[in-house]
Symmetry: C2
């Protein structure tokens, strides 16, 4: 999980690699969803993630160079830098897909609607001050049990929290990236904007 601290404490090579991988996987998911549903806001999140991946690539370069003391080290450093280059290529490719959406090049509506009925989608919602979600932890909210929604990432201004743990408390202004059916994402949108004030009952 990426938490606020990441901005202030140095990350190990291992942590950087893991975060780059997780972010690039998330970017691909988001970029695809943005393209399939012509979802501009989602496409913009991909662009934001690309900045983060670029920054991590830069950090990795510094860490890796500092770590190289001898010839054997240097070979490993070179391997790590090649991985960083590959991840950068992945995040560029995801940004290319997102950019199509921002350029208004989207997919044929027939393909779009074929997706819409059957599959889980990714959504992006913003938690408003008046939302019932604000100030509650994911544990309190039990969104998965209540409405089949999985929060896969939270963006808090420039910080990304990936696969947030149940202790994470949602704040006004948080951007939630969630996976669920079309209906459940629509409900999440209403809950986060404050249009709907009551969470569905816990069934099961």
């Amino acid at each position: 999980m990426v938490t606020q601290e990441v901005e202030y404490k140095p990350l190990s090579v291992r942590e950087i690699l893991k975060e780059m991988k997780d972010l690039s996987s998330l970017m691909i998911d988001l970029a695809y969803s943005a393209f399939l549903y012509n979802h501009k806001k989602l496409a913009e999140e991909v662009m934001r993630l690309e900045e983060r991946v670029d920054y991590l690539g830069y950090l990795l370069g510094i860490q890796a160079a500092l770590a190289a003391r001898d010839r054997e080290d240097a070979e490993q450093v070179s391997g790590i830098l090649k991985v960083a280059t590959a991840v950068d290529k992945i995040s560029d490719a995801a940004a290319d897909i997102a950019n199509l959406v921002l350029l208004n090049i989207s997919i044929h509506p027939s393909i779009h609607s074929a997706f819409k009925k059957t599959e889980e989608i990714l959504g992006r919602v913003k938690v408003r001050e008046e939302s019932v979600l604000a100030g509650k932890t994911l544990e309190d909210l039990m969104l998965e049990t209540r409405m089949g929604v999985d929060i896969i990432a939270i963006r808090r201004e420039k910080i990304w929290i990936l696969n947030p743990g149940k202790k994470v408390k949602l704040r006004s202004g948080d951007i939630l990236i969630a996976r669920g059916s079309v209906e459940s994402i629509e409900l999440l949108d209403k809950l986060s904007s404050g249009k709907v004030k009551e969470l569905p009952e816990v069934t099961k």
Copy 2:
């Protein structure tokens, strides 16, 4: 899910895009795991997946070109082809990472061992004729419940079955890509090679 039929019936643009996306996500996961654990067989699977993604990109080009009847169609086709190019870039990048492993450029053992203790890993095992797994469906086996192992893909010669459903019956010769703890993947390896003949009890 990708089933055997995919080789024989034409895929829609939508199906091709979805499969390309799923395969490229899988490639990234596998490539990272291969790099972190210096796992050559896993790296080779990435190379095989790249061939499949290339083939799908070729199919997509044909389908998309056939679909273009007028100017508006053509714009959408061009969008789809750009997505295909991006996915191809992603799969190339994953192959770049896998190739480092095949070139014996791996990661520092200290990073490797830091991963090994705490996290889930991806493993690759082959089902032998004498294995208790051969001839059973995933539903029969309940590997997730029994030992915390999730089969995320099966390769049957050249066919990939992604996120296999519970009705899928394992066959001798199947390559399983599985996610789990180091211990559970080691057990899966013994079960699939036939060294261990009994599945662990269902607990819970």
